[in-house]
């Protein structure tokens, strides 16, 4: 095609740094911790507009909690939060390695993003319903779901609660308020809105929390969810975990180049906040604010959590092919575990020695659970649930054709 001097040109966003380049976060600027005011719960979406473009921060890098968003939270609760984050990280590390050892087919870590799911789980009531993506294992862990059961799911072994049907990490636990994880992106977000609407229809007091990654916000289902949440003032928190990457594509490909993901809510008339997702206190405080708002019939809140995907997308992925190797080390919002630890130490409620001891104990807990889980088999050793179970649950009662097919399989 020939080009003239006034030829149009297609813009395709490109990140600052690719493999071999120096990681470059120089363009990033944030408000200081404590700088962002805390609005009234009944503030209108229009009054809240700027919150979608700023960044709510509480913790500075010396561990001080600053400003109106600093939550009143007992040190004991903070220590629990820290331990859940450590447990999540230790769990991820073990399961990642188990996959590498061939014991299962697939794994996805939440490395670097632990504060978001853990702090929100602690800010919600235990019977509030979460509609997670595949990276919210922290919610299950912070709700004390047994890591043994999670491992059995990952191994598709004889004790797998999902009976080997589901890809690893696709957990489900209704009693723990954890909706069955879908492999199809974004589908859970309108479902969270529907669940919240149902709670309102029924005159209940429970709220819902929907989760999605930055990349997946491009799916139509996300925008559908915003519209429905606004129309019915659904008691729901819509979480966008902006970890900057969607497999190999960076957040500008998802539409974050000249705006924010929180800003998606502004056009829909939804209260929208942008929050430091590696700041445990900010996550807790913003989640509490949104939950109280939902419980007060004041409607939905969209929250963009700014974080960084420290690890690979999954075990099927090699990030060194598309981003600089030491990216995460230079990410300006740091490591959520290190930051909460510094805060607790600053309060005089924690020490390096206690931290090291907790880390070791949690790693031992994970190792013990792993041993126990592996005693019931792994995908590698073929101790999987009977193929006969494959035909269950397609329908409530098995129709003739599935009985016939099960017979034909000879199981």
């Amino acid at each position: 095609m020939s080009r003239t001097s006034n030829a149009l040109d297609l813009h395709v966003p490109a990140p600052h740094a690719r493999p071999g380049d120096k990681p470059d976060f120089s363009g990033w600027s944030f408000p200081e911790p404590g700088e962002t005011p805390k609005p009234e719960l009944d503030a209108s979406a229009a009054e809240l507009r700027d919150f979608a473009y700023g960044l709510i921060r509480v913790l500075d890098f010396d561990g001080n909690a600053i400003g109106p968003w600093a939550p009143s939270i007992a040190p004991e609760a903070l220590r629990r939060g820290l331990k859940y984050m450590l447990l999540t990280r230790a769990f991820d590390d073990r399961m990642y390695r188990a996959q590498r050892q061939g014991k299962t087919s697939f794994y996805m870590q939440s490395f670097g993003e632990e504060a978001i799911s853990v702090a929100q789980a602690l800010a919600l009531n235990s019977d509030d319903m979460c509609f997670p993506s595949y990276r919210q294992q922290g919610v299950l862990i912070a709700r004390d779901y047994p890591i043994f059961d999670m491992m059995c799911q990952i191994y598709s072994n004889a004790r797998d609660p999902m009976r080997g049907r589901q890809l690893p990490v696709m957990y489900s636990s209704k009693k723990d308020g954890f909706f069955t994880v879908s492999g199809n992106l974004a589908t859970q977000v309108p479902q969270a809105v529907g669940w919240a609407m149902a709670s309102a229809i029924a005159g209940d007091t429970k709220i819902a929390s929907g989760w999605i990654g930055d990349g997946s916000t491009a799916e139509s289902d996300f925008h559908t969810a915003l519209t429905f949440a606004h129309v019915y003032r659904a008691p729901v928190i819509l979480n966008v975990v902006n970890n900057q990457w969607a497999i190999s594509s960076f957040q500008a490909i998802a539409g974050g180049e000249s705006t924010t993901f929180a800003a998606r809510g502004v056009g829909c008339g939804i209260a929208s906040l942008r929050v430091d997702g590696n700041d445990f206190l900010a996550v807790y405080a913003a989640s509490r604010w949104a939950a109280e708002r939902a419980r007060g019939n004041l409607g939905p809140t969209l929250i963009e959590w700014v974080s960084y995907r420290a690890g690979a997308h999954s075990t099927s992925d090699d990030p060194s092919k598309y981003r600089p190797a030491d990216d995460w080390q230079r990410f300006p919002l740091g490591d959520p575990i290190v930051r909460l630890k510094a805060h607790l130490i600053g309060l005089g409620e924690w020490s390096e020695a206690q931290h090291e001891q907790a880390r070791q104990e949690l790693e031992a807990e994970v190792a013990a659970a792993q041993k126990e889980a592996e005693s019931h088999g792994t995908l590698l050793d073929g101790h999987i649930p009977s193929p006969a179970t494959m035909f269950d649950d397609v329908f409530e009662r098995m129709p003739w054709h599935l009985r016939l097919q099960r017979q034909q399989l000879g199981v």
Binding site: L10, G164, S316
Partner: protein, 350 residues
């Protein structure tokens, strides 16, 4: 040319290629010949796709000819339709066939019907590539074979290659075709032929003649089947991975089956099917997709309509079970050579 499968000498030297490399070569050749060919999809640009089919194309042709898209399949198909309306030849990738569903409206209501509803004023000369099928422990959202959902739609062409030589030639045909083409890639065949024996070492394409692919431009015609394995006793109608599984079942049972690789699922090569079934008098239809209302049902009806008086046995269907594709029980789900072999025997004994 008498032999529709003959590849002209102008296609260049044949070199070893995996199916991934053959598909890449098809895109490369097409982009080099025609600057209207553009390639896009999730992770397709810089990274080169999660299966690396588009690796190197952005570096070679620039980001306005090969680029990453937002994660939105309806958008991916929708922009392809718009680009096609402008006059480009877009090749869109859906990362896994399991993820085309959000794009279904753009495929079914738009791409497939543009020509009809505008009386040829607008057309959708687009190719939508998507990896399909199981065998990689992908669970229910990385294993599906949704071909019947496409063959049911009037106005779509649906294609599925079974080897690198066909993959390249068919993809070039699809790109050059003025109709919308759904191009399904059996991902289990990406790196080597696969006969269903998952417990045996993977055979690389470099060890197989169909892994020797001409480097230049050539086409494999749409609507033409290939006789993958000639035989006299029974006709197996199949496509994709199941071509290899069926041929393996024929070897293992010693039944002299003729294995027909459809290549184009719709519109298909009826003549090839009818000629073979009338000759053998027996027919087994094999696909990996679930059974009920699967493409095998259409094939069964066609064989019944055109070969009824020649049939000596009931038509057999071997398919995946009518359940979502399970993760751990993958090999109990997958219709391997034992299941195909049993059907061959039933067809012979009837």
């Amino acid at each position: 040319m008498d032999d529709p499968n003959a590849i002209p000498a102008t296609a260049g030297n044949a070199v070893p290629m995996t199916m991934i490399q053959a598909l890449r070569s098809a895109l490369d050749v097409s982009m080099a010949r025609d600057d209207k060919v553009v390639v896009f999809g999730e992770d397709v640009g810089y990274f080169g796709g999660v299966f690396r089919v588009t690796e190197g194309l952005q570096a070679k042709y620039g980001p306005s000819r090969c680029f990453d898209t937002p994660i939105n399949e309806s958008g991916i198909v929708g922009i392809a339709v718009g680009m096609g309306a402008y006059g480009l030849r877009p090749v869109a990738e859906i990362q896994f066939a399991d993820y085309f569903y959000p794009g279904a409206d753009q495929i079914i209501s738009e791409a497939a019907r543009l020509r009809y509803r505008s009386v040829g004023d607008f057309t959708a000369p687009i190719t939508i590539r998507m990896p399909c099928g199981g065998g990689i422990y992908g669970g229910q959202t990385h294993s599906q074979s949704p071909e019947a959902l496409f063959t049911h739609v009037c106005g779509l062409r649906t294609v599925m290659p079974s080897n690198p030589v066909d993959a390249k030639g068919l993809l070039i045909s699809a790109i050059e075709c003025n109709d919308p083409v759904i191009f399904l890639e059996p991902k289990r065949l990406y790196n080597g032929p696969f006969d269903g024996h998952h417990d045996r070492p993977v055979v690389p394409w470099s060890k197989h003649p169909l892994g020797r692919v001409p480097e230049g431009h050539y086409t494999v015609p749409l609507e033409k089947a290939a006789v993958f394995r000639p035989g006299k006793a029974v006709t197996v109608i199949t496509y994709g991975t199941m071509v290899w599984v069926s041929a393996c079942a024929a070897e293992e049972t010693g039944i002299d089956a003729e294995v027909i690789d459809l290549r184009s699922l719709w519109p298909l090569d009826l003549e090839a099917i009818v000629a073979s079934v009338r000759r053998t008098g027996r027919c087994v239809i094999v696909h990996e997709a679930t059974r009920t209302s699967g493409f095998g049902a259409e094939l069964t009806a066609l064989v019944q309509e055109h070969c009824f008086h020649w049939l000596e046995a009931p038509i057999e269907r071997v398919t995946g079970w009518d359940t979502p594709y399970p993760h751990a029980q993958e090999w109990d789900y997958f219709p391997g050579p034992a299941r195909v072999g049993a059907a061959l025997k039933r067809a012979m004994e009837a």
